[in-house]
Subunit: 218 residues, 2 copies
Amino acid sequence: MSAENPTLADKLATAIADGILSGALKPGTRLDEMGLAEQHGVSRTPVREALRQLAMSGLIDMRPRKGAIVSKATPDQVESLFVAMAEMEATCARLAAISMTPIERRRLQARHEAMLVLANAGQTEAYSDANVAFHGAIYAGSHNAPLAEYAMNLRRRVGPFRRAQFQVEGRLVRSNQEHDAVVRAILSGDAAGAHAAMLHHVSLVEDAFEAFAATNAA
Amino acid sequence: MSAENPTLADKLATAIADGILSGALKPGTRLDEMGLAEQHGVSRTPVREALRQLAMSGLIDMRPRKGAIVSKATPDQVESLFVAMAEMEATCARLAAISMTPIERRRLQARHEAMLVLANAGQTEAYSDANVAFHGAIYAGSHNAPLAEYAMNLRRRVGPFRRAQFQVEGRLVRSNQEHDAVVRAILSGDAAGAHAAMLHHVSLVEDAFEAFAATNAA
DNA sequence: ATGGGTCTATTTGCATACAAGATGGATGCC
DNA sequence: GGCATCCATCTTGTATGCAAATAGACCCAT
């Protein structure tokens, strides 16, 4: 939506989304229209439109006449989000195994191998970025825009709840090993294998999140 | 979203969505704000918010400063939508096989058996309604709100492109037979089987659509 | 006749103004 | 002292008005 001539509402939507994803706006934070409006130097009208847009994406919750807050989820709901994301990723991986072009497959492998280096070097930051690109490549490889978009959307939504997953000891190398299984399955066109491997991988990410959350709660 | 105190924008969103789903607003139809506004006896403000909401759901396309139209898809995009829906349904079925409660399973079976009667009686209309409920029950059975919602959303989006699928000769009975495989797999907790059976089923729906579209084009 | 350009009219985008519902505190009552 | 009620205030929802951009028509020139 809105490629080149972003309207104010669009810009606000991405700005607010960035705020949420960067952690500046924590789950539960109230988003009052007036505040956002003068904070961005605009009127309430585009703010309201941006909020409505974000509400549909799930990043924020709006209740009629009660305002909007950054989506705050119960542990159950977070769990659901992780499961949903795992399923979407697995589905994309499955389709990617079927649909990826030879070029895409080569690029995926190259990406994967580059990440092995980063993992061994313990470059958490760089690995994390590469990881996003890696998963994005698989979404794209599904050659199915709706699924890829939704997978990306879910990834964004879980973002606020999984920050710093790679800080769990040894997660980097294990992540890369799991990727290896995914990549092998995709490259060999093994749809079911890709599905299973990705499901396994993302489920472990969830475990890592829980481990991290637990150590932080303590 | 917005359960009890729907705002005008919410009501408009559902009204317009209904118009699209019912076929009153065909793909490609221009949605000018002023027209919709006075047609519903409101101002442009809630109309704009409703449109933005619908745009995020994919039902309409908005281009900045160029207005909104009912989503018009190329055959490729329609194909993608069908594939996406098939995958989502299959995923929900997989999770349903794992997560459904005994009560849900019994109800699903009851639903399914009731539909067998309708199919044999050739009650296209009633079967179609029951079919929506049947698939909805499986979405719900996944016990995963994000996935269920998205599956429902996709079902809505493909709606305008699949109207009257059951008009293909003999589709009713075959649909019910396919459901049988799905139900059996879910009831027996066979996750992979449920996935495969549902994928098969929904893919055939797509074929039926194509057959229908083809006969109409001729 | 066709292509380009300008001008007008329509439509979208944004701001402001107004209305109505929700929230929180003070007040009165038990 | 606790609790319910009422009122003030604040926030959201809707309408209207104005500015800017787009699209379409018309005209002119080649």
